[in-house]
Amino acid sequence: MIIGIILKYIFRVNKVMFREEKQMETRLNLSDLKKGERAEIMSTEAKGDIRKRLLDMGLVKGQKLLVIRKAPLGDPLEIKLNGFYLSLRLDEAKYIFVKTLD
């Protein structure tokens, strides 16, 4: 039983490490972007209502966007996509993974 727990723990640690590594390499959060950066959405990984909301507003895979500014206090974020301007909190932007465009 103890071995089981240890194995489980190791397995979990491994999984966490693996996942972090993968994120570091290929994925970037929308919340990490700076003013003036362009990006393309890779995936939107929220759940439930938030996901529906983000998808409805056009934050779908393949969509290009431009970071306009952060609010004076650093949160929320303003982005431009599809010819309109959208604000979202960093908490929600975290669900959106992007790759930067030059």
Partner: protein
Amino acid sequence: MDDLQVITVAIAGNPNSGKTSLFNAIVGANQKVGNFSGVTVEKVHGIRKFNGYKINFIDLPGTYSLTAYSPEEVVARKFITDQKPDLVLNVVDGSNMERNLYLTTQLMELENNFIISLNMYDEVQKNETEIKFDLFEKLLGTKIIPTSAKYGTGIKEILESIVEVYENRFKPKFKAHYQPEIEERVDKLSLILQQDEELLKIYPSRWMAVKLLENDKLVYDLVHERPIWIKVYSQLLDANKFFESKFGEDAELLITQNRHSFIKGAIREAVKFNQISKRNYSVILDRILINRITGIPVFFLIMWAVFQMVFKLGKYPMDWLESIFNWFGMIAKLYIVNETIQSVVVDGILSGVGGVLVFLPSIMLLFLALAFLEGTGYMARAAFVIDKVMHSFGLHGKSAISMITGFGCSVPAFMSTRTLKSKSDRITTLLIIPFMSCGAKLPVYILIIGAFFSVSVAGNVLFAIYLLGIFIALFSAKLFKATIFKGESEPFVMELPPYRFPTLKSLFYQMWQKASLYLKKAATIILIASLIIWLGTNFPQSQEIKDNFHQLEQTVLESEAFPPDIKTHIIAALSNDEASKQMQYSLVGRIGKLIEPVIKPLGFDWRLGISLVAGIAGKEIVVSSIATIFSTEDNGGSGNKSLQQKLRNADEYNVATAVAFLIFVLLYIPCVAATTVFHRETQKWKYTVLYISYSMGIAWIFSFAGFQIASLLI
């Protein structure tokens, strides 16, 4: 006259699409406002006669989508699916088609007749955007009519098209816009759903199939109850497994993506943008109004201006109303001889009606200001700028606006929470607004602070009271969000619309709608409640006290010992004494005495108890009832030196009592008018009960703490 055939038309569109302006341009003053049943979402409808028809337009709430996400969306969607209007008029902002047409794709799925109004066409033309209307109409399957609510163009064409569809001379087509794999699954699900005939009576099967694949709550709940669910469920699982393996995505995402690519495709085919730099002025204005340095000062400056306008400017019509009612009172006193009836008319009915109307100027001015902020597009920016502060207490950026309004009066502040779309944000904001110290509490503070504190610290004490209110409001917000609204975090995904100048017409209509809602929904209850409290303060009256007073009065008048000017003084003192005794004899007086054991730990005696009970009618009444109880003439309340003297000299009171009393007045339930409007806004007894018991509890606890701490310090 009324035998005209009625056509029901629902107007649907994104927020900021000019939907309401178009509605106003079509029906003009011929409109009425109410609530959609069961929710505090306003329902505005109006009638326009055209070509022998009576066209009934219903302005649905502005939504970006028809998912069952916010109350507005549920209302808009249910109206279309359940009420089945003859036609849906979809208003699309021509200067922002890509986002606006998303709602259109969802309307297409609903299989209800609809036509599109391509609004703000003047801007489209200014940007030299070319649209191939024939092709665009073919792609979207219905008529597209260019309109400009601002200049009133295209209205006649809209009306003609409505009649044309109604008379079946034109039939919109509903085109599929999904990739074959999705279509296939939709068809399979649709076939299963068709086996349930009861279900088909409610919604079209194809639409239900799409919604089920999309994880739609409302349709899920509906189908979940049916025996057919087992088959549906296995088909759904199978479909999602298929999509997952083939595309690595679930159906919800694929369907949304399909809609977006359909729109992109249609626009690419039919629209040619010639000018890239549109809404330049908005970008420039934003650089000034919401940049890192000026953003917050500009926010406070604008809020300050709104506050000044609503409460300083609103004071003039309020004063006029007051003098009109005083004048009515004088007339009534002249013509009504019977003392009791005179008192009922003047102090009961007239002051009750006056008490209702007194809120009207500030409500109208506030909503004029809010409509202006919303219409220009600054409202969303205000929320954007201040959201971080509010969010750290679990609130929304827009809550700040309602809270600041609360410093003036809770009644309009409660009504302003309608701009908050999420229920938990809205209820939490409603619950904390009363802690923002309203204008009517100021006279009480001035009386008490003036009586017990030296001039040098008076300002600081007053400031501390306001600060305590803000602190408790924010603390309570955090508490509510962590307990009753736990886990209900709503996303803050909000458009920052281009700056526009709202039409005067729509500003006026919005202001008028709020005023009439207040008069229709709250006024009668406020009137009745203030009448009840007035009755409680004045009845029952003791004949014995009255006789006693008259006897003494007579004795003084007949006595030879005093000169006439002293006589009037003595009689005035006796009369004040009578009023004090009568008040103690009245129902409110008895309740005040009854609650003495409860308020004793706060350092209050029955006299303060009575004033607090009477203060439920309106906070400023606390002052006048203290004056009555202490047998003093109430001459203008706050600057009352002799009353302050009496309070200071009363052995029962000290600075600790004053601290506790100030805290209690700040925190305990606001007046009946505010409580009524609160209940109107939540429409749930559980929230009203929570609100009353919470504010009473908090008031007691903080007063108690204040009394004990202050007692230790002095």
